[in-house]
Subunit: 330 residues, 2 copies
């Protein structure tokens, strides 16, 4: 398989709006409230990959949206990143995570109370900015997506420690909690540019397949990643009782006796030992490879959705971005 | 002073939409997600006073809104209650409260993780319903209000354990965290009915003054209420390190030496003793009376705002509702 392009290559056609995104995010979040301002500055000091803004810009670019809409596009894309950040901040409370983007989480640094409220604040500001910069269809899509994301997270929480979770249930959760927003971003960008409903739907499906693959790879990295590069605590899912594909697949491959042993290990107090034991079983049964193969299938489906669009730098970036998911290590 | 009307009397002109409100709330929140559905059913099994829907209906009624708008009004009012419920659920995490409306809080019954997510879910659904049933001005007002509420809560959190908090800062926090939404409700109801900007502004101010008085009385009840009737844990503010008017006034009346003693008591581990000691000082210095007098002044200002409207059952209810705040014990 050929090596995927770097994020820098992929982002080249949308370099300008991406560079403006951090400023637009701080624009949306500007507040005289000192505590909120401190936390916001801290959180965004460590930049993520800006996947959601990138997808929004590419959705717009693939449909060659009008230049006079670019300011609205920028703030829409920034709003999606702010919304995503709000969910990350609340997720980190839920998972008791202590590292995010290589720095301590807000709940570690300021406590869960501040994390709850700052998450709410980002959430509100994101919705406000979508309302200001989108159109009726985009707002409606976004509000529906926000509900879906939350629904997926509640579903995931409900299935914690459920060792009988099936692969399909897992995929349904991933579809809602991660893929829905990525689909919304690329679709909203295209909608702003005036895409037809068919084009918008195709890009939404691209984003959803992309998102499922992205989450599967993320879940694999939670086992096999390099903590430094990954920027998150390894084994966080296991520690929080969340079953992901590598482990779900393992429960399908072993017999009932062994499954119950694995469950005991999974339920034991988290420690390096527990994690290493689970990891060695996962490697023994090749379930990381299995998971990557699943991710690869979703990436293929994602790319097929792009066939209805003529060739362009933006379309090329969307293709490369899909391939990038399978090669990423952070 | 004449005795205030009962809530039943006050609610008489809006009895029909109020009766329909619990159903509309469950409408907005209907979900196939079992965990979310369980938590939602549980939370709304214990009805609050539905103050926010009532204010929305009265704002609409005082301007005699068109009957064909009543279904939108109903869902708008229900959405405000859902939004308010979302903030209560997150507040209870932040304050580690264990009783709300006389039943255990969601964080006690399901844990903080579920409470974070269900709060987010209600939040999203509320905004979605306002978007569906309001108009552009109402959505814009509501989104701005949501940001203000959150801002007020972050401000309150920042000032925890700040024994130098002034009365004005306290009033500013109360204005944002409680009064803003009450003002939004009555203003949005009137906006839907086609109120002029002047009328809408007057009703917003009514709601804000009403809300400040309401919160001051609430903060007094946290000291002197009957836990059974109040439906919340007494002394919750003190336990959470939140300074409210009765205590702030006390810090103004005593000398520095005594203030530092009070602070030590305030900062000590919560227990019946701590609460009783603070309560006896508050009673000794009559700061509950002082706080009620403040509340009374805001209620007078609230009622003055109603003078521009002709007499009507709805206007009468708004006046009675203001008086009710000063007489309530739950």
């Amino acid at each position: 398989m050929k090596s995927a392009a770097t994020l820098e290559d992929i982002y080249f056609p949308i370099e300008r709006p991406l560079k403006a995104t951090p400023g637009a995010i701080l624009d949306i979040l500007s507040t005289p409230n000192e505590l909120a301002a401190d936390v916001i500055r801290y959180f965004f000091s460590s930049q993520g990959k800006l996947l959601r803004p990138a997808l929004t810009f590419l959705g717009f670019a693939v449909k060659q949206g009008r230049p006079d809409l670019e300011n609205r596009l920028l703030h829409l894309a920034a709003a999606f990143e702010v919304f995503h950040s709000a969910t990350l901040i609340h997720d980190d409370i839920i998972d008791s995570a202590y590292i995010r983007r290589s720095i301590p989480t807000i709940n570690v640094k300021w406590g869960a109370q501040t994390a709850v409220l700052v998450g709410d604040y980002l959430h509100d500001k994101a919705i406000g900015a979508v309302f200001q910069n989108g159109n009726e269809k985009i707002v409606s899509l976004f509000l529906q997506t926000a509900g879906t994301v939350c629904d997926g997270e509640i579903h995931e929480l409900k299935e914690k420690d459920n060792f009988n979770l099936t692969e399909n249930e897992y995929l349904d959760i991933v579809d809602k909690k991660t893929a829905a927003l990525l689909g919304c971003c690329v679709e909203a960008g295209a909608m702003l540019a005036g895409a037809t409903p068919e084009e918008a739907e195709a890009l939404k499906r691209y984003g959803k397949y992309f998102g499922i693959a992205f989450q599967i790879v993320d879940d694999c990295l939670d086992f096999t990643g390099n903590q430094q590069e990954f920027g998150k605590t390894l084994g966080a899912d296991c520690a929080a009782g969340v079953l992901t594909l590598p482990l779900i697949r393992l429960t399908q491959l072993v017999d009932e006796k062994k499954k119950s042993d694995v469950f005991k290990i999974f339920k034991s107090e988290m420690g390096t030992n527990k994690f290493q034991t689970l990891l060695s079983m996962i490697l023994e049964y090749d379930t990381i490879d299995y998971s990557f193969e699943k991710a690869r299938q979703f990436i293929e489906k994602a790319k097929l959705e792009l066939l209805i669009f003529p060739d362009s730098p933006a379309r090329k970036s969307l293709i490369q971005m899909a391939d990038y998911v399978l090669e990423r290590n952070k």
